[in-house]
């Protein structure tokens, strides 16, 4: 595979990608996406949120799940960082605590794909505004 070095390479690669699959599909229906938010304030980052975010991105790519991974700030659960909030379409958000790479994969495998709840869910006592 050729290496991507310039914006032109990027443009070409994108076109190849678009031919092989429909990557644009996502942006058209944001409401059908699984929203994954990784808490990335000082507390989260220091306890490994970046590794978790990379693991989540890797995993949803592997499983081909229509999802977006974004960052959020501190939710006040510093003791339980890294925390990850998952909102499946039509469901209330669920916050998972003490997430590491293994747990991140478990969240995708069990909760996102099979609706199974796993250990370490934090009580939701806030609302996203």
């Amino acid at each position: 595979m050729t290496k991507i070095k310039s914006l032109d390479d990027l443009r070409q690669k994108k076109q190849q990608l678009e031919q092989s699959m429909d990557i644009r599909e996502k942006s058209d229906h944001p409401e059908n996406l699984v929203q994954i938010k990784v808490a990335m304030a000082t507390c989260g980052i220091a306890s490994g949120a970046r590794t978790v975010m990379n693991a989540l991105v890797e995993k949803i790519k592997k499983e081909n799940i229509p999802a977006v991974v974004t960052q959020t700030g501190c939710m006040g659960y510093c003791y339980a960082e890294p925390t990850v909030e998952v909102t499946k379409p039509g469901f209330d958000p669920v916050v998972f605590s003490y997430v590491d790479v293994k747990k991140a994969e478990e969240i995708v495998d069990k909760y996102i794909l099979n609706n199974e709840l796993i250990d370490g869910i934090l009580p939701a006592n806030y609302q996203t505004i």
């Binding site: 290496k3 991507i4 070095k5 310039s6 914006l7 032109d8 390479d9 990027l10 443009r11 690669k13 994108k14 990608l17 678009e18 990557i23 644009r24 996502k26 942006s27 990335m40 304030a41 000082t42 507390c43 980052i45 220091a46 970046r50 975010m53 990379n54 991105v57 949803i60 790519k61 977006v68 991974v69 974004t70 960052q71 700030g73 501190c74 939710m75 006040g76 510093c78």
Partner: protein, 184 residues
């Protein structure tokens, strides 16, 4: 914080919290002059004199979820213990510029870490914000901005997983090139 890229992620969160729509990140690695600096400039709401003075106080924070704010104090500590310093210039309504300097060969300077990955994570998680990234190695620079990326990619979102991977690869390739072509 294990490396400077993590500090970068953290500091940029502050800019986002200040409502910035444009954030410029500059990493300047200069082994020749024995310096390493990292700066983040944003067009957020800025800080007044009082806030600026209290910035390095870990018990000062503008957030309401908790009473401590460790991001800037931790970075200041890291910079000072590795023979450097931290400067913050800010104007209310105009934005903030933060610059951390380090002594390159200081034993206590954390490794730079994976800045390309940090940039891609920030870009993809905040598609509404424009980022510019400049990496300088011994005076030679590589620059990339989300405006250029958006232009090249058209309406494909920057948070597409395959696109993210490609952008990261592109940044890494160019950074490596800067280093490789300067081996003496």
């Amino acid at each position: 914080m294990n490396d400077l890229a993590l500090h970068l992620l953290d500091i940029v969160q502050n800019s986002l919290g200040a409502g910035a729509t444009f954030i410029a990140v500059h990493i300047d690695e200069n082994p020749r002059n024995n310096t390493l600096s990292m700066s983040v400039e944003d067009n957020g709401c800025g800080m007044n004199e009082e806030q600026l003075q209290k910035l390095s106080d870990p018990f000062f924070t503008s957030r309401t979820t908790r009473r401590v704010g460790l991001g800037v104090p931790l970075l200041r500590q890291t910079a000072e213990q590795s023979g450097g310093n931290l400067e913050v210039v800010s104007q209310p309504g105009k934005g903030t510029c933060l610059k951390a300097c380090f002594q390159y060969d200081h034993l206590d300077r954390p490794p730079l870490g994976d800045v390309a990955n940090a940039m891609v994570l920030m870009i993809s998680a905040n598609t509404g914000v424009d980022f510019a990234y400049r990496y300088t190695y011994n005076g030679k620079s590589y620059e990339i901005s989300t405006l250029q990326l958006k232009d090249a990619l058209g309406d494909t979102p920057l948070n597409d997983l395959y696109i993210m991977e490609m952008i990261e690869e592109m940044i890494k390739e160019n950074q490596n090139d800067l280093k490789v072509c300067q081996i003496e």
